[in-house]
Amino acid sequence: MGSIRGKVAIVGMGCTVAGERFDASQEDMIVEAGFEAIADAGVETKDIQAAWFGCNSVSANHALLNWSLKLGYKPMTKVNNGGASGADVLRHACLAVASGTFDLVLALGIEKATDAGFTAPGEGGRAFGGEGHVGPESLFTELRVPAQYALYATRYAHQYGLRPEELKEALARIAVKSRRAGARNPRAALRDEITLREALESPPIAWPLGLTDCCAVADGGAAAIVCTPEVARQLRDDFVLVEGLGQASGGREGQLAPSYSFSGLPETALAAERAYLMAGVRDPLRAVGHAQLFDAFTLLEFLACEDLGLAPRGQAAARLQAGFFDPEGELPTNTDGGLLANGYQPGGTGLRQVYESYLQLRGRAGPRQLKNVTRSLVQTQGGAAGSFTSLVQLFTTRD
């Protein structure tokens, strides 16, 4: 196995405003994100040699992408990986460039959930298609998504001896932090700050998770122009390099093995190990300056921090309380407001997370800009309790 390091760069990105986009169709959002990325890279549509597309709510193929952007008879592929589709779209584009077959390609993902007539995955049907599942497995496949993550929250509290009030307060602090960041992000879906009290008193959705612990399903997406570093040098001075692409997919271990811990995601830990190995990162805490974590639920930010080695096991809550992950802290996380402020857009989420890293690494994050960020980490996941696909992607400023 080899590394992706030094083989791939990002030279342009675009990102839609997230939210209830009743004003925009799927095609409109593809145009919005796609042409922003193309303009940002300073290329023309004819320069794009191939494309990868994420959009879980349409079936069949890439067609919506090419119909919207009119890229001509170029190779196009639709990528599906549950909630991690957007991140995997970027991975496919990177692998294709690294293969030498293409020099400059497009990765684009969007989701238009509000027109689908439901407010959350799984509503009005089984969450993950639960084809013929019976017994313990059906417990997972029939559960709504918040209920699945609530299992991890209660177990996490038990494992590390947190009292319910302590857990609730730690989770609430994440919600407050993300919403504060969202208020500073003009493209976020939720741009109002909330108080700790509001978070603590928000109505329970699946105990111990309350309303502010859960992200909203929102419309939106993002796009990236991916190319070789040689091509990138000709296009702009401040491109971003892809340094590591780690991915791990579960095989229902958590649904089958009595030893499954429910206090971490083995997929994230393994994906991180693979990404760090590619990037040559030995001590992530020192090496990573900014992280975008998949906080579809507040608790997931804790689990991710620990799985990624950014906090010792059981210590994420304490670190958070100490301000470690605040914008002024040692390792700022989710400076764009995370999923909690940007919503969940499975086809686009991973790319939207990378968009913030792209801005931070190039010093273009406006009022959210961090000082001296040279390496940024993005973690995205999809799947269901006990069986996830997790991606960990590392980016650096150009050499």
Binding site: H62, A63, N81
Partner: protein, 392 residues
């Protein structure tokens, strides 16, 4: 842009028997196909470093079924060309140098879907001209190409039906020689021509069946392949072209060719270094979802001049004993169309032909073998052409 030639090899493949497999779930089909491929490759499943799947969910469909421990798995789609896309994605990943040994697998369980063909769900946002195309059942789409072909080349209905019928007769004959085929009986030209109409001028024997099935491939670099077997198969060219709705919005669209086919074949030939496909290809698998599809494909991939596909097939050029045998496994006509798996199933036949293991249907002296897998609808297809050679 570089060629993918000689960067990727297949060391193992598996394909299930296709048919109405009421006793199997989609995961059973993944297991059957993938373990046949793993066994054929002579590797341990622990050696698989990444996977690509079609037709089943990415996270659970492959790892959940095969219990590959936490390897990265992705789902890719390209409509009826999903099988080819699964292969392509895996091949690009190997060529990137990031992974050494990967698996590509796909399965279709269409008979459980409660339909007998691909259902066309009318998109309420599609109006006017587009709605006609978008909401029509699939045979109607291909009937448009058949009628236009007749008109343009001045063929009578009888002449067209004879050419299409001859394709069905050929593929049915090949199907009898393939133990994994679904339809394993000969038909006569008379039967084909007089079969009940489905979408004029296409009749029953002009249309393939949507059925259940799975296929899988173990893919690696030629360097690693050498360690596992002597008769690995090398990828020489890989072309994909995707339409952008030209056929639905441009009055100039011809309905005489699939531009996606022409481009995908061009890219694949260029990478493989093939200058004259008619002379250099030894064996071809074409996406004969409909006989007219195979007819137009002959011309699109350059094994017949424009307008001559019908004459060539009637002369027997594409028969097993002909100059370029086409669809030696019986094609989609006889091995059915398990949609996401079809492309891999076509590559399975190329693989067996390149290895000289196609038994009663073996083509002699294979130099280049082409698989052409086409997905999408009128005016906007995705076509994947893959060219293979036996190891040098």
């Amino acid at each position: 842009m570089e060629s993918i030639r000689d960067k990727v090899a297949i060391i193992g493949m598996g394909a299930t028997k296709v048919g109405e497999l009421w006793d199997k779930g989609s995961e059973d089909l993944v297991i059957d196909a993938a373990f046949e491929a793993i066994q054929d490759a002579g590797i341990d499943s622990k050696e698989v470093q990444a996977g690509w799947v079609g037709g089943v969910s990415a996270t659970q469909g492959l790892n959940g079924a095969l219990k590959l421990s936490y390897v990265p798995v992705s789902g890719v789609e390209n409509a009826c060309a999903t099988g080819g896309e699964v292969f392509r994605s895996a091949a690009l990943a190997v060529a990137s140098g990031v992974y050494d040994i990967v698996i590509a697998a796909a399965a279709a369980k269409q008979k459980d879907a409660g339909t007998t063909g691909i259902t066309m769900q009318g998109d309420p946002s599609t109006l006017g001209m587009e709605a006609m195309i978008h909401n029509g059942a699939v045979p109607l789409h291909f009937a448009l190409y058949a009628t236009r072909y007749m008109h343009h080349y001045g063929l009578t209905f009888e002449q067209l039906k004879r050419a299409l019928g001859r394709i069905a007769v050929k593929n049915h004959h090949n199907g009898t020689l393939n133990p994994k085929a679904y339809f394993r009986k000969e038909i006569t030209l008379e039967e084909a021509v007089n079969a009940p109409l489905i979408a004029w001028p296409l009749g029953l024997y002009d249309c393939c069946a949507n059925i259940d099935g799975g296929a899988a491939a173990v893919i690696t670099t030629p360097e690693i392949a050498r360690k596992f077997r002597d008769d690995y198969v090398v990828l020489k060219g890989l072309g994909l072209a995707s339409g952008w709705r030209e056929g639905r919005i441009s009055p100039r669209y011809q309905f005489l060719e699939f531009p996606e086919n022409v481009l995908a074949a061009q890219i694949a030939y260029q990478q493989a270094g093939i200058v004259d496909p008619m002379q250099e290809l030894s064996h071809v698998q074409l996406h004969d979802a409909f006989t007219v599809n195979e007819l137009v494909d002959y011309e699109d991939v350059g094994i017949a001049p424009r307008g001559k596909g019908g004459d060539y097939v009637l002369e027997g050029r594409y028969d097993l004993e002909g100059t370029i045998p086409v669809n030696t496994d019986g094609g989609l006509k006889c091995t059915g169309h398990p949609v996401p798996a079809t492309g891999l199933k076509m590559i399975y036949e190329c693989y067996k032909q390149c290895q000289g293991k196609a038994e009663g249907r073996q083509v002699k002296n294979i130099r280049y073998s082409l698989a052409h897998n086409q997905g999408g609808l009128t005016g906007s297809f995705s076509t994947i052409c893959t060219v293979f050679s036996p190891r040098d």
